[in-house]
């Protein structure tokens, strides 16, 4: 620990500001200000880190460092034979946090679960319109059409009735938007005429409670003394908001923070050598791809898509763009997800064969097209512009002249959604580790109309398999269906699958037991600090 931090800790301890003399504080240099403190209302990881991941719990949760779903506020659940009714048995004796504005009079119970879901589901719920009332993730996961009712059976039992069987349902409700808020707190705030407080001064059952937030500067938390999994070994958690990646690195070096997210790729080489930094890495749960717009000619022709797959020198791209921090992708899901079909064979780099296929498709002299490249760095693609240039050169070699197109990020997404592109670079980071979250969300027929299926690819044999996999509940059976779907995907080639990238996480050497979250979150219950 550096002198400044040590001095400050000592001073704070002497004054009793932190409490015991041994008080432990972890400082996390976060990348931006949260949009708010209610994970139901927002979609960014920055907000989830500041709220759901440390302040709240969910009925079921991801085991730290994995995508395995484990019991959370529900000790166990049962599914009816038709797959439509889920009965959750809730944990007893779970305490809500006590904050400046709220002292709970009771333990967590079924009312809290019903409140948290009905607020998002029912447009007539008194809280539905509070704080803007846009529940993007809830909508995005099709919850409004999926959930029929959420009802209390008794104080410790809740029943969810679905409109159709949905195998990924349990993984979906382990996501941040399904965090459980306090119904008692909400009632009190509604009576007091200040319902927005629920979203600004969060009260949850999680390991940390919010102490205060100074906009754009600092978020301060203290350990929840009655946390049901046991009080955290860290007494205080501080988010020091630092938007510039180079400055975050400087703060780690100077000992002003213990953990930082999203290092600058240019700094990685230096971090690896740096004794003040422990650079952790893990294969990301993501995919970077190039999608063909199959609604446009000539990409409606599978031969053209296959030919352009064959024409891309993927190995060269991985070397030049990811510089060792990425692995060539052959399937639309990363190898870290169950049901990954390793038997699928990728298109080898073969320009001659590509030319032959193009000739067969009637494009002996090639054609002109475009490649859209994102203007921003994303976890799955550190440099889309450069990648587009390399693909452009590869395609030129088989006679296809491509023009590179780029727009400002919001504009890019909007136009891509409208299907203005012919081919585009994009990618995806998984939400919950379920194959459905890639295969149906990115390639299913439902998503082809203004969802996230940017290829606009709706292919019945594939879609049938993926939809069927949603309705059967055994993982072995689902695996089989997904494996088959991946074979069809490769053959039909709506994308050039490019890479799964590696995610880096710099931490100070004194941080113990840090685990990289494959879903991209930052959790502070578990890690500790060496004395």
């Amino acid at each position: 620990m550096n002198k400044a931090l040590m001095g400050a800790v000592a001073a704070a301890a002497l004054l009793g500001a932190v409490g015991a003399a041994e008080a432990k504080t972890m400082v996390y240099c976060s990348e931006g200000s949260p949009e708010g403190f209610n994970p139901q209302l927002f979609t960014t990881g920055t907000t989830f880190d500041a709220s759901s991941r440390n302040v709240y719990n969910r009925l079921v949760e991801f085991e730290r460092g994995t995508t395995t779903v484990q019991p959370g506020l529900a000790e166990r659940y049962e599914v009816s034979d038709d797959g439509l009714t889920y009965t959750f048995h809730l944990r007893k004796g779970v305490k809500f946090q006590t904050t400046k504005g709220f002292t709970p009079s009771r333990d967590f119970n079924a009312d809290d679960v019903v409140f948290s879901f009905m607020r998002q589901l029912d447009p007539n719920h008194p809280y539905n319109k509070v704080s803007g009332g846009t529940y993007e993730y809830f909508q995005g996961m099709s919850m409004p059409s999926l959930l029929k009712t959420v009802e209390k059976v008794d104080d410790h039992t809740v029943r969810f009735v679905l409109n159709r069987p949905e195998a990924p349902f349990i993984a979906n409700i382990a996501m941040d938007f399904a965090s459980i808020l306090s119904a008692e707190y909400a009632d009190q705030m509604m009576k007091a005429g200040t319902p927005e407080k629920v979203d600004l001064e969060p009260v949850g059952t999680g390991p940390y409670q919010l102490v205060n937030y100074q906009k754009d500067a600092v978020i301060r938390y203290k350990a929840h003394p009655d946390y049901w999994r046991g009080k955290s070994s860290l007494d205080t958690l501080v988010f020091s908001i630092t938007p510039d990646a180079s400055v975050r690195y400087a703060k780690i070096q100077a000992g002003e923070c213990h953990v930082m997210p999203y290092p600058n790729p240019a700094d990685l080489a230096k971090m690896k050598e740096d004794p003040k930094v422990n650079l952790m890495s893990q294969e990301g749960l993501n995919i970077g791809y190039l999608a063909f717009n199959v609604r446009k000619k000539p990409f409606d022709d599978v031969k053209v898509r296959q030919a352009l797959n064959l024409a891309v020198n993927k190995a060269a791209i991985i070397d030049a763009i990811y510089q060792g921090a990425g692995k060539a992708a052959k399937n639309p899901i990363p190898p870290t997800i169950w049901s990954y079909n390793d038997k699928v064979e990728d298109y080898a780099y073969d320009p001659e064969k590509a030319k032959a296929l193009l000739k067969e498709a009637g494009f002996e002299n090639g054609f002109e097209t475009d490649i859209w490249a994102m203007p921003v760095q994303r976890p799955y693609n550190p440099n889309a512009r450069r990648m587009a240039e390399m693909i452009q050169a590869d395609w030129a070699a088989v006679g296809v002249k491509a023009q590179i197109v780029s727009y400002e990020w919001g504009e890019y997404l909007k136009r891509a959604q409208a299907g203005e592109h012919q081919t585009l670079l994009l990618g995806w980071t998984g939400d919950n580790g379920d194959p459905d979250n890639f295969l149906a969300v990115l390639l299913g027929c439902d998503a082809a109309n203004g969802g996230s299926n940017y290829a606009g690819w709706c292919y019945k044999p594939f879609d049938d398999l993926v939809m069927k996999a949603k309705t059967v509940s055994g993982q072995a059976e689902r695996t089989k269906l997904y494996e088959e779907a991946q074979v069809i995907f490769k053959e039909q080639a709506p994308w050039v699958t490019i890479a799964h990238s590696v995610v880096y996480q710099p931490i100070r050497p004194e941080v113990t037991d840090w685990k990289i979250d494959p879903l991209g979150g930052h959790y502070f219950y578990g890690p500790g600090l060496k004395d």
Binding site: Q214, K215, V247, A254, G410, G450
Partner: protein, 336 residues
């Protein structure tokens, strides 16, 4: 005098209106749709997209949006952020003192170093010292703020460990905002030693932000001083055998300062512009960082409100400078 003040104030209203229109149109000219940005790669169905635009009131014709914005402004309502839903005016009022504090410290630094450097350079015209000051001023003036900031952080914070890397105060202290000025609030708090931490955090950003004004002030002081030193009354004073230091500091400086003060007034606008970059590097929780983040999210009301309020400050400062000028120099009042 009354007519003069009236004329000056009369200009404020059209300027204000101009700024509202400018800010309103400008942020909408930058392509990018706030709703598409909120959804990210996830995408939205066209119906959902339209529904959200309607919810945010962005589906109405631009002209209509502009007039309802003006109507709300007339009642002192700056709107709410599209992203966080918090009132724009509140955000501005929480963050502006931090920017003001930083700008004030930067100006203090620029004046305290820039004035003497300019005077010395003028007095020792042609000497090595003069050349050094002039070269330094030129370098400082052309220094890219982002690079300069990172360079100083690397040197003073990481390598030497003398200053903190970023932020406004050590994260170990929690100081209840009273005035919003950290240096004052720490003294009012029950942990007055936090003052030193706040001061410590202020040094580097103030130097970075103050560098360009410092260069401008040094150059202005030098040239203005040279001009005055060549005037008859200074030569007379010297010929009379008065103490040379006294001649420079009392006789010459007083007159040389007039244009310098104008320049300092003009620097306010520039300083606020520089604050945007400086705040981003040093994670300084002021309006600069807020504006950058709001622009990135296409948070129209925040950007409009931010630009408008900052402009008000600049307009107000210019007005005050103008009025003061009119008082100091009555000839101005009758011109035009």
């Amino acid at each position: 005098m009354f007519a003069f003040v009236f004329r000056r104030l009369g200009l404020v209203v059209p300027t204000f209106l101009g700024v509202t229109l400018f800010a309103f149109v400008l942020i909408r000219l930058i392509p990018g749709d706030p709703v598409a940005l909120m959804a990210g790669e996830r995408g939205l169905t066209p119906e959902r997209h339209a529904q959200m635009l309607a919810q945010l009131g962005l589906d109405r014709p631009m002209v209509e949006q502009y007039f309802s914005y003006l109507a709300a402004l007339a009642q002192g309502d700056f709107g709410r952020s599209l992203v966080t839903r918090s009132p724009v005016l509140n955000d501005f009022l929480t963050l502006f003192p931090a920017t003001l504090e930083l700008s004030f410290a930067a100006m203090l630094f620029a004046v305290v170093i820039g004035l003497p450097a300019g005077i010395l350079a003028a007095v020792r015209r042609g000497s090595t010292l003069d050349h050094t000051v002039m070269a330094g001023a030129l370098t400082g003036y052309s220094m890219p703020i982002f690079w300069w900031g990172l360079l100083l952080i690397m040197l003073f914070s990481v390598t030497l460990g003398w200053t903190p890397v970023s932020g406004r105060i050590s994260v170990m202290y929690y100081v209840e905002p009273v005035t919003g000025f950290m240096l004052i609030d720490t003294l009012l708090s029950d942990e007055p030693e936090a003052f030193w931490s706040a001061l410590h955090h202020l040094v580097l950003p103030a130097i970075v932000l103050g560098t360009i004004p410092l260069a401008v002030i040094a150059r202005m002081t030098r040239s203005s001083m040279l001009e005055v030193l060549g005037e008859d009354y200074v030569r007379t004073a010297r010929a009379k055998g008065l103490n040379p230091t006294r001649v420079v500091l009392v006789h010459a400086l007083r007159n040389a300062l007039i244009p310098v003060i104008t320049v300092i007034g003009l620097q306010v606008g520039l300083l606020l512009a520089g604050a945007i970059l400086t705040e981003t590097i040093f994670a300084w929780p002021g309006i600069g960082k807020w504006l950058i983040e709001s622009i990135g999210r296409r948070d129209y009301p925040s950007v409009q409100g931010g630009i408008l309020l900052v402009s008000c400050v600049v307009i107000a400062v210019n007005l005050i400078v103008d009025l003061l000028y009119g008082i100091i120099n009555p000839r101005i009042r009758h011109a035009r």
